[in-house]
Amino acid sequence: MSLDPSFVGRTYPPTAPYQVGREKIREFATAIGATDPAHHDPAAARALGHPDVVAPPTFPVIVTMAASRQIIEDPVLGVDYSRVVHGDQRFAYTRPVVAGDELVCVNTIEEVTNRGGHGFLTTRTDVSTVAGEPVVAVWSKIVVRGEA
């Protein structure tokens, strides 16, 4: 399939706030085997200067993957999700995510290319608090594999 390059530069409306829960951070940290007390114990996190438990570096993907449905499910862009493969992933932090954050995502399509029958789509998701404080920028490149 072919992706429409005219989508480059398109920005989607901000997503509904995602409430970062302490138990969700603990659950995620446990699932990846991250045992540092700052992911589990608010007192340990406070000792590092954070208001509550600190999320591991890839935690924001929970928020941004949900937010990216805006793009993946945009009927005009027409991505076939069953053919999607994850290409690249990047996180650029202003500060770590902590429990209690209410995060809003703004998705922008940065790049669309078609090569060798495959479509390549790079999105940037700017994640900030509901108060407008930037937290992390997340880039994701997906490959939409062509029909064999």
Binding site: K24, E27, F28, T30, A31, I32, G33, A34, D36, A38, H39, L48, H50, V54, P56, P57, T58, V61, I62, M65, A66, S82, V85, H86, G87, D88, Q89, R90, F91, A92, Y93, P96, W139
Partner: protein
């Protein structure tokens, strides 16, 4: 400077737990039937699970759970996870490329499974440990 290699065991149970915690329930990460139907050798780890293990390695090297400033990878080869008690292993190593005057350390990271690289262009910038 080379940093000490860290090894992470990955089993099917880890993938199920990660699916639940992350909300990524793509069946190629738990169903051999689905994985082989789309041309994979079998169930593969979530790319983001592999990246999370690399993140653990990075924060361990940095000595702080909140040290990561920038982190990027390219997924080049799937981590196939057999349905055995042992599963498979991901090995993560890194070299320090640069220590900047403003307190940042840049790492070039290598992640392998069964001797083959599973990531390319894997880099992290962390606050330099004191």
């Amino acid at each position: 400077m080379e940093l000490p290699t860290q090894t992470f065991r990955v089993t099917r149970a880890d993938l199920v737990r990660y699916a639940g915690a992350s909300g990524d329930f793509n069946p190629i990460h738990w169903s051999d039937r689905t994985a082989t139907k789309v041309g994979l050798p079998g169930v593969i780890a979530h790319g983001m699970f592999t990246m999370a293990l690399v993140g653990r390695a990075v924060t361990t090297w940095a000595g702080a759970p909140d040290a990561v400033v920038d982190f990027n990878v390219r997924f080049t080869r799937p981590v196939v996870v057999p349905d055995t008690d042992e599963g498979t292993e991901v090995e993560v190593s890194a070299v320090v490329k640069e220590v900047t005057d403003d307190g940042l350390t840049r790492l070039d990271i290598t992640a392998t499974c069964l001797g083959e690289k599973v990531l390319s262009q894997a880099r992290a910038t962390v606050r330099t440990p004191r």
